[in-house]
Symmetry: C2
Subunit: 214 residues, 2 copies
C-alpha cells in the first residue's frame, strides 16, 4: 500500500501530518512525502520545514494520493507541473484524497468535476466555482475521491479510510495507539458552533482568511 | 511569546505538529523547532523528516517548551545533552509541556518529581517509576507543567494553553480556523473505550507497544 503525500510551498503542516500519522500506521503502508523536487518544503507560517523524500519524476504511482491544503494551494491549483502530475497519479490510484484547500488543487486538476466534495469552510464557494458540489460534511466520499474539511479533519478522514481499506479493527487500533479520544476545551470547531461574531469576522474577509487558515 | 518545540531522533510527528499548528497561530507567537543540532531529524517510522531550525546552543530561553513523545524518548530521557538543556530552559520558561512519552523526558530531567502528570496510556507506569504521579486525564496542569496523553492529545493541550495564555476567544478562533470539530468514525481512542481484546493485546507487550506507538 503505497501512500503519496504531496507537499508544496506554504502548505499547512497539520493537513499533511495528521492523516500521515494515522495512515502510515496501517500494516504494509509505505508513506512517502513528494514534491516537485525532493528536498525541504516550507509551511504556510514559514516556521516549519518538512522534507520531500522524492520529486514528482521519481514517483509515478501510488495507491493513495493525499493533497494537503494551505495558502500555497492557490498557486498549486494553477501550476501545470502539479496538475499534470496529479492527473497522472490519479489515473492509477485507488484513492485520491485531500484535506482542507487541497480539494481546490484536485478540482483545479479537473478531478472533482460534478463530484460531492468538501474543503475548509471558508473555501466551499471557491470549490463550487471549480466545478465540484461542496457539502458541509467533515469527510466526503464520492467514489474513490475522498475530501476532508479544514486542517484537523484529515485525521478523521484517515480513520475512515483505514476502516475501508484495512477494516474496523485496524482503524480502532490506530485510534487507540494515537489516543485519539478528542476532548477539546471549547466547542468552536465549525462555523455552526463557534461564536457568531468570530465566524462573521472571518467570513467578511474570506480571501485573506483562507490565506491565513490554510 | 517564544515557543520551542524539541525534536530528537525517532520522535512521533503528530506529537509535535498537532500542538505546533494550534500554538503557532496565537498572535505574537514565534515557534522554533530545536534539536541538539540544527538540521534534519527523522521520525519514529523513518518516513518523515522535520528540520530543526536551531541547535540547543542557539536557543537558551523560551516562554513555552514542548517535548513530543516517540520511541526515541527512551534515549532522550537518558541523554545528558537533552536533560541539561531542558533543565536550563525550564529555569526560564513560563510553561514546560509535553505530549505522550515526552513526559518521560521531562521526568528524566527531574522536572516532574511529585507532580501530577500524564503520558501515553501504555507509559503511565514508566512515568510513575520516574517520580511523577500519573493520572488518567487527557491534559494535566500542575503549576507551569502541562502534560498531555498519547499522540493526538497534544492538540487538546494546545487549546487549553491558548485559552490560559491568550483567552477563550483566541483559542476558539484557532479551533474554528483549524476546523477542529472532531468526528472520529470509531470510539476507540482510549483503553476504556477500545475493544478490550485490542487493549489487552497491546498491554501484554507494553514495552514494544510504546516503541511502536510513541
Amino acid at each position: 500500500m503505497q501512500i503519496a503525500i504531496v507537499l508544496y510551498d506554504r502548505f499547512t503542516a497539520l493537513d499533511a501530518v495528521g492523516p500521515f500519522e494515522m495512515l502510515s500506521r496501517m500494516p504494509g503502508a509505505k508513506t512517502v512525502f513528494v514534491a516537485a523536487n525532493a528536498g525541504p518544503v516550507r509551511n504556510d507560517q514559514d516556521n516549519l520545514t518538512l522534507h520531500a523524500d522524492r520529486g514528482f519524476a521519481e514517483m509515478t504511482a501510488a495507491d493513495i494520493v493525499l493533497v494537503p491544503g494551505g495558502p500555497g494551494a492557490r498557486d498549486a491549483m494553477k501550476d501545470p507541473l502539479v496538475l499534470d502530475w496529479l492527473r497522472a497519479m490519479d489515473a492509477g490510484s485507488t484513492w485520491t484524497t485531500s484535506v482542507c484547500t487541497g480539494s481546490l488543487v484536485l478540482a483545479g486538476a479537473g478531478l472533482l468535476e460534478g463530484r460531492r466534495a468538501t474543503s475548509h469552510w471558508l473555501a466551499l464557494d471557491a470549490l463550487r466555482d471549480l466545478g465540484a458540489e461542496p457539502t458541509g460534511e467533515r469527510v466526503v466520499f464520492d467514489g474513490k475521491y475522498v475530501t476532508a474539511a479544514g486542517v484537523s479533519s484529515g485525521i478523521d478522514m484517515a480513520l475512515h479510510l483505514l476502516g475501508r481499506i484495512a477494516g474496523d479493527r485496524v482503524a480502532q487500533t490506530v485510534q487507540l495507539l494515537t489516543e485519539y479520544d478528542p476532548q477539546p476545551p471549547y466547542d468552536a470547531g465549525s462555523p455552526e458552533k463557534a461564536p457568531a461574531d468570530i465566524v462573521a469576522y472571518w467570513r467578511s474577509g474570506s480571501g485573506q482568511a483562507v490565506v491565513e487558515a490554510g
